[in-house]
């Protein structure tokens, strides 16, 4: 490089325009990226598929669990036996959030109780572990068994990472899952018909 160019004074007007053009070019590139990134969002069709579903629970036997699909997720509807309901009290000191106070998956007011449901015996919960989204399995037989503590009272076990829940979907302490199972918005259309996916309008 020759001496002249090294010592040449900076033409500040040119530099200003250079910086402005680069900035404008950057803005343009960012604007073009918007539609592409937006296309990653759920499509209108996927959003529309989230409608509420009606479930008839008249044939649900005590101790039976039924799985229905809502927004592509498994929703458990389970009629608990009196023994299972009684067991809910026994291990509350081992639960991470016995009163369902955490806000990540807010529990609706009508399910903020020990059995986490409107009718004490009927559990309605999204069967997706709050850790990483596996669907926990049924472990209703009390007593010692593989992967479970010796004083097990019956509940659910997520086989993926070992999180355990009681029959009200409340998570035990010191497990990877931080939250209780989500209770979806729901209400009873009649004594035996449930609507999952909507709150009762006042």
């Amino acid at each position: 490089m020759s001496e002249a160019t090294v010592d040449a004074t900076v033409d500040s007007s040119r530099r200003t325009w250079l910086i402005t053009s680069c900035a404008m070019g950057g803005v343009g590139a960012a604007a073009v990226a918007v539609p592409f990134v937006s296309s990653f969002q759920p499509s209108e069709r996927a959003k529309a598929a989230g409608a509420a579903i009606e479930v008839d629970i008249s044939t649900l036997q005590p101790g039976e669990k039924r799985v229905v699909e809502w927004r592509g997720k498994p929703v458990w509807i389970m009629r608990r036996t009196p023994e299972q309901l009684a067991a809910l009290e026994k291990q509350e000191d081992q639960l991470a959030d016995p009163n369902s106070d955490r806000k990540t998956y807010p529990t609706p007011e009508y399910a903020k109780n020990r059995h986490r449901s409107i009718k004490p015996e009927v559990l309605v919960a999204v069967g997706i572990c709050t850790h990483l989204g596996c669907s926990p399995g049924d472990k209703f037989t009390p007593g010692p068994q593989p992967s479970l503590p010796d004083d097990w009272q019956g509940g659910f076990l997520c086989a993926c990472h070992g999180s355990t829940f009681d029959v009200a979907g409340r998570v035990f302490k010191n497990k990877p899952a931080p939250d209780n199972l989500e209770v979806p918005p729901h209400y009873y259309l009649s004594d035996t018909t449930l609507l999952v996916g909507e709150e009762k309008k006042a």
């Binding site: 996927a46 498994p74 990483l132 989204g133 086989a159 993926c160 070992g162 010191n174 990877p176 931080p178």
Partner: protein, 466 residues
């Protein structure tokens, strides 16, 4: 620009054609720079085959992939059936698919060995930092490629594996849930997810991968290969400027590598023909069941090459967080007492430690599990700046270093084994110790790599003609 080169009209046709091309495109120049006049150290041992093998597997994956796409359907309702169609009805389709699925595992086998070679011989040290960094980027991209490819057969393992990994992103505070939604394109893994993963797996990620491979090789050929002695062969040159301990890559190593390739292909073919599922490790048995969004298989585990990192994810429980907080506090204390820093820097160390501990208490262990899993890969990028050893190769490091590297490898294998197993209390403890060791190995490297009695490094490579 090079001079236009005239050639004798009596020259053979081949030479004339080459000259015609060379005047318009640097064909001979490129060949010489990267093959015939690229001088590689003459003391390479068998560890040095895995780079060539990785390139071979890349070619196998691209070619078999192109043919699989001709028959595969990226649609949640037909994907599983189209894979079975390839396996049963497409002539020789089973072979092409098994080559692709075995190739995926083979890729990780050779890449892990290739990285280990770099680790023990200090191939990441100055001036090869960028070779290493590009290589780590290749490893990261390869993991993304393998993960997205695994969703495509749309079996139970594909589905729930993707569900778990995408949900990892939702653990990030504030933006997580929206980010997971953007990745899935739906509220759960579904058709939209399958379609975009297909697009990423067959075009976007392979393009990035190819670009990084080219950058990796260009950077390597700029600085020259390291060798088992960690001696710079460019430091001793003959009067023509050729390294005395170097031999031209072509024909010496090109021919030599054909031997390694033959051995590799024997093993590869044996697996493809006799054990393509490899006992459920290369193709998991649960993946022969079509994806069912309502039922998680009782035991889900990632494919073997992800399991060491998966173990670290599982190891971070709320109990483990107290151990990690203790580590952070201890680190800050050491920084204040031992490190030669001025008061401002020490204040910064204490301040950042306090902020970190506050975050660790405030955010769920789930998020920190994700951080640990990602950090386990990201930390590799920093290896060139973590190692303070005065010598490169393990040959001239203190003897106890060999034991340390052995423990590191065994620890990595144990973590891998635990990642395949269902969760258990004993396994959890072991994986927590293993995770601490893994990170300790790297984070304490600036300290331990300086310790001990180093052996004198020769000025020329050790080489015994045979």
């Amino acid at each position: 620009m090079a001079e236009f080169k005239e050639i004798s009209p009596d020259a053979p046709l081949g030479q004339k054609a080459l000259n015609w091309v060379d005047n318009r495109f640097p064909l001979s120049k490129l060949f010489n720079e990267h093959m015939a006049e690229y001088y590689a150290p003459k003391n390479f041992n068998w560890w040095y085959i895995f780079g060539s093998l990785a390139l071979l597997v890349l070619v196998i994956q691209i070619v078999t992939g192109i043919f699989l796409v001709m028959h595969y359907k990226p649609d949640a309702t037909t994907a599983f059936a189209s894979v079975e169609y390839i396996m049963r009805d497409v002539p020789w389709g089973w072979l092409i698919r098994y080559m692709h699925s075995t190739g995926a595992s083979a890729f990780f086998v050779v890449v892990y060995l290739h990285m280990y070679r770099g680790l023990i011989y200090g191939s990441y040290r100055k001036p090869r930092e960028l070779v290493w960094v590009f290589g780590c980027a290749i490893f990261l991209v390869l993991m993304a490629e393998a993960f997205m490819g695994y969703l495509l057969p749309w079996g139970q393992m594909s589905y729930w594996g993707a569900q778990v990994i995408v949900n990892l992103f939702s653990a990030i505070p504030f933006v997580g849930p929206d980010l997971a939604l953007l990745i899935r394109g739906d509220f759960v893994v579904g058709d939209a997810t399958l379609n975009r993963f297909f697009s990423f797996h067959v075009i976007a990620v392979p393009l990035v991968l190819l670009g990084l491979v080219v950058a990796h090789i260009i950077a390597l050929h700029e600085v020259g290969s390291n060798n088992p002695d960690g001696v710079e062969i460019k430091a001793t040159k003959d009067d023509k400027g050729i390294p005395l301990d170097g031999i031209p890559f072509h024909p010496y190593y090109s021919v030599h590598d054909i031997f390694g390739v033959s051995l590799f292909l024997m093993v590869f073919s044996a697996i493809v023909f006799f054990a393509p599922e490899f006992g459920g490790y290369f193709l998991e048995y649960n993946n022969f069941i079509p994806a069912d969004p309502l039922v998680t298989p009782l035991h889900i585990a990632p494919v073997w090459y992800f399991t060491p990192f998966y173990s670290m994810l599982r190891a971070i429980t709320s109990e483990m967080m107290y151990a990690l907080i203790a580590c952070v506090l201890l680190g800050a204390l050491l920084g204040v007492v031992k490190a030669r820093l001025n008061m401002v820097m020490k204040g910064a160390v204490v301040g950042s430690a306090v902020v970190l501990v506050a975050l660790m208490l405030a955010i769920d262990a789930k998020f920190w599990g994700v951080v640990a899993m990602g950090g386990a890969v990201v930390i590799l990028f920093f290896l060139p700046w973590l190692d303070n050893s005065p010598v490169k190769s393990i040959r001239y490091r203190p003897s106890w270093n060999k034991w340390l590297y052995l423990v590191f490898v065994i620890n990595f294998l144990i973590l891998g084994y635990l990642g395949v197993q269902p969760p258990s209390p004993v396994g959890e403890r072991v994986s927590q110790v293993g995770t601490l060791f893994y990170f300790g190995f790297f984070l304490l490297m600036p300290w331990w790599s300086r310790l001990g009695e180093f052996k004198p490094v020769p000025s020329r490579v050790t080489f015994h003609p045979h």
